[in-house]
Amino acid sequence: MNQGLHSDLALRAQLEQLQLQHQALVQRHEALRLRHRAQQASAEEWLRQRTRELEAEAAEQKKAETLQRVFYRIAERAAAGLSFYDFLQTGHQLLGELLYAKNCYICLYNAEKKTLNFPYYVDERDGDTMQTDDVPLRRGLTEFVLRTERPQLIDAARFVRLQAEGEITEATGDLSFVTWLGVPMQLRGAIGGALVIQSYEAGIYYTDSDADVLAFVANHFSSAIERYQAIDALHKSEERYRSVIENAGVGVVVVQNERMVFANPRLARIVGYPLDYLLSQPFDAALHPDDAPAMIERHRRRLRGEPVEQHFSFRVITQLGKVRWLDLSAVKIEWGRADATLLFVVDATARVEAEQAQRITLQKQVELNDIKSRFISMTSHEFRTPLAIIHGSVELLRHYEDRLPLEKKHLAWQKIEDAVDRMTRMLENVQTIGHAEALPLECRPAAVDLAAFCGVLLDELRSVMGAQYDRVFWTVELPPQGQWYWLDETLVRKILGNLLSNAVKYSPDGGTLCFSVVEADPQLVLSVADQGIGIPEQDQASLFQSFYRASNVGPIIGTGLGLSIVKQAVDCHHGSIELFSEVGKGSRFTVRLPMVKCPPPTAAPAVESAP
């Protein structure tokens, strides 16, 4: 029986054990199932996660590629020589490929002046309100970005908060944006502006990652803007230089390859030709022909690096044919990577003319001094001789009165008289020239019967010169009597009177004296030729100066005035005088006067009253 009980108990225990085993198995199964389910779920999650990650990676990749492309194109556009505005507009379009950028503006900040300007401003609400003039800083949205030097993403709620905090109190424009995103731009190492986009669309929010993208774009804009600003500064400085050169008071020219490659407007005024003409011609086109060869030579020497004077004067002839004096200073420069000369030109006409006038005055002074010294030397010689004669004669008369035969006494008295006459005549001549120099001779022509006039003149000469007159053999050739010429009788008398008396005076040994007046239309040629002592060549050039006498006159008296009077009379009569002479053989003076024949004055009384 035990066995039964025993076996029952054993069975029960066995069952319990089995039940426990089953429970454990069920638990294990459940655990396994749970584990499996958990494992399945995590695999799905992982897969989903991974898929999301891969998707994001691809988007990132695509975005990066787009960014890359956009940045490349920004850089490319910046170098394309667009105007600043066109560049910013293109940049805006490219930005639109990365972000929603319907509304976009760019602000530039001048830290020095504390001002802003808006070279680009596109807004669907505000319109295009580009603001290139500087405006003062305020407490607005843009200024908040500049002040914080950080990207600022602002939605309506944050805007209210910022206003409440006093960060933004002076915002302008349409402020009903959904989000407003502004990033600072670095220009030359400091905050120099801001790039801003905003959306008014309910569904479009900007995010922090958008801020990152915009910051990248702003960075690329910055370098382009820097370049534009640098070019602008260069333009401005070039403009300043250009304005200085264009408005300079001196002419500025650059000469290269013997052409003007640059010239300022002042040069055109100085040279008296239009600028285009000067630039289209070889650079010596307007030069005075006398100065051109030296100028070209100097230019070439300067280019060869040989020493050349830096400042000099030269002449140009203007389009109107006027001669102008220019002062020039030149330096060698490089122009378009080749040698050139830079010239500064000043109109020196007034100065040179003043100098010339001064020189002429000085020359006149020198001439007057010469005349004075010649006068002194003439008087000291010519007056001392008659004085010595008078003095000697007086002493003879006084000391030897008792012993002097009568005829010797008469001779002495005669000598005194002659010497006094001689001095008187010389003084008269000096007075004549004095008058002539004080009052310029005048030419008042009238009808003159030249043959009759010469006849009278020769008679006068004979009575004045006495025996001397007949010392020479006269040959006279005159136009026919009754031929009238339009001449100034006083001037012709001075001319012929002096030439004829000289011819007689300087022919101490006689010889033939040829006097002729012949017509050589349109001139009347008066010629006086002698076979006297002649005039040394070295004296001929000065012979017509007052008080100048040839070196070989010896005891023949004279003041040195006759020929100067002749010369003045000839000039006054619009004629010319020519001299040919050889020492010991004689002299020939040829005077040419304009010939105007006219009827006798009685036949045409109107001539008398003609002006």
Binding site: R384, L396, L411, K415, G554, P555
Partner: protein, 133 residues
């Protein structure tokens, strides 16, 4: 005593001639330097009075020739010049003239200079030509 006068101005020459003859000198006349030199060479005078400015050969040329020629080298020379410049006088003296007078000179000055030259100069030639009067 024989005096040679070289003077191109006839009136001055005549006055000099009259004066010196009245003073008892024998006078020879020449109207330029060349003529004077020719006369002096032929028979050297006791004294030469010469003008400066003369045609053909001037006073300086005459002085030079007289001084270069042994026959006339010792003859005293007085230069008569119409020019008052010191240079002219100096040039004449440097060429060998013994004295210098500026025109117009006084009779007394001239005679004094003539006497002085005739006295101070040893007679170059033995035969003495005494005064005619």
């Amino acid at each position: 005593m024989k005096i040679l006068i070289a003077e191109d101005e006839p009136s001055l020459r005549e006055n000099l001639q009259m004066l010196l003859e009245l003073e008892g000198f024998e006078v020879q006349l020449a109207s330029d330097g060349q003529e004077a030199y020719a006369l002096a060479r032929r028979a050297p005078p006791d004294l030469v009075l010469t003008d400066v400015m003369m045609p053909v050969l001037d006073g300086y040329g005459l002085i030079r020739l007289l001084r270069e020629d042994p026959a006339t080298a010792a003859v005293p020379i007085i230069v008569l010049t119409a020019r008052a410049e010191q240079n002219d006088a100096d040039l004449g003296l440097s060429l060998g003239a013994n004295a210098h007078l500026v025109k117009p000179y006084r009779r007394a000055e001239l005679l004094e200079a003539v006497q002085a030259q005739l006295k101070s100069t040893p007679k170059p030639q033995p035969p003495e030509r005494g005064r005619r009067q």
